[in-house]
Amino acid sequence: MSQDSHAGRAREALRLHHDLEPLWEAPRTRFGFLAATNHSTVGLRFIATAIVFFFIGGILAMVIRAQLAGANTQFLSEHAYSQAFTMHGTVMMFLFAIPLIEGLALYMLPKMLGSRDLAFPRLSAFGYWCFLFGGTMLILAMLAGVAPDSGWFMYTPLSSKPFSPGINSDVWLLGVTFVEVSAICAAVEFMATVLKVRAAGMSLGKMPLLCWYLWVTSAMMLVGFPPLILGSILLEIERAFGWAFFDPLRGGDPLLWQHLFWLFGHPEVYIIFLPAAGIVSTVLPVFAGRPIVGYTWIVAALIAQAFISFGLWVHHMFTTGIPHLSLAFFSAASLLVVIPTSVQIFAWIATLLKGWPKLDLPMLWVLGFFFIFTAGGLTGVMVAVVPFDWQVHDTHFVVAHLHYVLVGGFVFPMMAGIYYWLPQVTGRRSDKGLGKLAFWLIFIGFNVTFFIMHLTGLLGMPRRVYTYPEGVGWELPNLVSSIGGFVLAFGFALAVIDIAVQWRFAAHTARNPWKAGTLEWAMGTPVPPYNLASLPRVDSREPLADDPQLPASLAAGDGYLPGRRNDWRETIGVDGVTGRPEQLILLPGPSYVPLWTAVAAAGFFLSFLFSFYAGAALSAALVLALALTWLWNSGLKADSEPIDVGQGIKLMPHPGSPQAPGWWGMIFTLVANGAFFASLVFGYLFLWTIAPNWPPPQWIDPDPLLPLAAAAALAGGSWLAWRARAANRAGAAGKRQMALLLAAAAGVAASLALIAVPLLLAPSPVEHAYGSAIAMLSGYAALHAFLSAVACGFAWARGNMGYVSPLRSLDVRNAELLWHYTAATGLVILVLVHLLPLAAAR
């Protein structure tokens, strides 16, 4: 290519940059940064905030180690120590690990998938504010001396009102639930994005492995987090209103909390591990100089691992008196999960053996991961064996094991990822001097701290005791652990200094310094807010390896969607499996609404915390109103013809596509909701069959009028919503609007009937867990009937404004889908509440 031609293409690239940058960045006003929805900005905010929380958690760890360094230490009181270890675990799990994964996925997914943003940018921003406000709530409570103090898994009855009368437990239940809202938002966002918002041609089999890992992790979050959210809601209601889910004297059962917590808690370990393993699968082949060995096997292994990880939850409950055969199921699953993990490890080893590995800084962290995580995996096999677990349960052996798994399986790969992608974020060269020293301090400090802690546990030291007497043999191992802990902390401080120095002072680097093959390296550095000036067509797993000139040609506008049209934020939507271009996705711009919605949500959680229930109700109404405002202007007011996206392809704008991301967003939201519902039904049946003090003193009134009315309204609403969709498809706008109005009315009627059930027919929720469970189930059904009514009313109003047509049918289809879900779950609830007692009475 001639010099003139080069200069011409460079000018074109610059023109495109000036065209696109103002469109995709946050407003350049005083408070414009608060309206940012761009995935790079929000992703980096998640990462930075998570790292701040990591250091708060780290300081708490230092406090714990200072307290345990010697016998009879009086550095902390018993109460302060309880707050310290509870907050350490809570911060590290909920405010550091999960949000860091969310930040990584937010930042990285669109770049690796070759798109310009995520499917729902405002949802990402909302999720960030929820995370920030929820986390801040927990930290402020700690500074005020009212932090949670019942351990990070909040076992009842210790966390129940009689044994934890202050607001400490409420802070945990409400703060963590607030943060979990953020996680569910992120999971829905990532599920829809990976499925629909990819580069043209990127079939599932060509998708970068990290995206597979993040996709599977998101699916696990959708199913894994709702049990904890449910448990937290139940415990908070019990604490606030005196209901009886976990009180054995009134037909509740503390084991229900353990089940709900560990239904979340064990998959959580893999939710943390899998993205980190994804980083290893990304970084390792680059430094081995060859593609990963066994791509298909790795994909299969991580899906298998995700499933099996849900079959392990009872291995945290081996000492609760569950019958041996049941323990054997979980012991067998706990041993089996080693196999998919091993498939990945052997694929990594094979990749190293078949390549020419270079020991750069990211690889050093990967090797550290191998060593520490494998050790943690081996002790995991040990505690998966029931008799051994009985011996070491609740000792420091378990503390050592979980740190080997979580720090080895998460922090080390994350550090590898940070050092690997740092040049991509900063545009500066990686310098390994200080970073290497930090690695060795962390590696040595970690092993000194936690290896010997296995021994402390085997010597019988229980976890969560604030001090211990002299002469029991625990002084020396504890002192060694404390010294190691401070070395570890020093190493992390050094790593932060190293990263800051590199960010600010390192020499500028060329694009793609590691010679990687995935698309995030096709972008300019620092990355522009639109990612790519034009979007690629992908024909292999490593497009940059196939065509090293791809970055330049995309920057010059040779791909899809070059330039700016109608001030639309455009990206391409594809068929989920094949990657065939399918729709033109028009993304929303910056908005303050996510922030205000999160502020209203914060109002709800804070009002509940301080027992100001009218304020909580008002805040909830405000959240709903803001959410509707948020969605009000989405879509187009007129049908559109397919639009030229370049390369001779025309695509329909997403409001006219049956596979629009919003449709998938609704499906994935209902998957999470379904997991919540299944947990609720499990809780009801568990109490019924296992809890003490059953049967209850009084069953529900068998009067059939109300349940039949509710059932008729539920079935009728569902049918009317289906009719609304059918009318819309047939172009009968009048019939559609009428059916939507009637479906909304049916939702209100069903909601009222379902609310009346616990008020008029059921025994008091305060007297026995039976009444509590009925009120909870009926409340769930009533809330969904109300939401279905709102969805139909909203679709009706948008229909009046011209946002709905036979082609642009998303509002109607989503309302219909929600109605079917509401009717199905509502009818199941009616059977459980009204027919099960009749069967039991016989």
Partner: protein, 112 residues
């Protein structure tokens, strides 16, 4: 092949282990229900029910693996082939997982 049909292909990725999840939860639930209802240790009725359930799930796993094998053989080159191969691998792995996690039903005491 695009759109809803390929989305159904993607569901193949979760079919095998979805079935394992059902088997696992069903066996655990039946055992929990039997013990919660006061079945004595070693109750032969409870064991018979669990063994029957275990066998039924094994048959279902066998059928699923056979079905995915057939689908995989029928697929030509293209993006769907990868999904079908992965679905087959997962269906076989899930069958093995059900055998391994369900084996205690044959050997250990009920409700002990």
């Amino acid at each position: 092949m695009t759109g809803p049909r390929t989305n159904i292909e993607a569901l193949g990725l979760v079919a095998g282990f979805g079935l394992w999840s059902l088997a696992f939860v069903a066996l655990y639930a039946v055992h929990g229900y039997a013990c919660g209802s006061g079945a004595p240790p070693g109750d032969p009725t409870a064991r018979a029910a669990m063994v029957a359930l275990f066998a039924a799930f094994l048959v279902a796993h066998g059928w699923l693996a056979w079905w995915f094998a057939r689908r995989w053989k029928q697929s030509g080159e293209g993006p769907v082939r990868f999904i079908r191969l992965a679905s087959l691998v997962l269906a076989i792995a899930a069958a093995g997982t059900t055998i391994w996690t369900g084996l205690p039903v044959l050997t250990l005491s009920i409700c002990a």
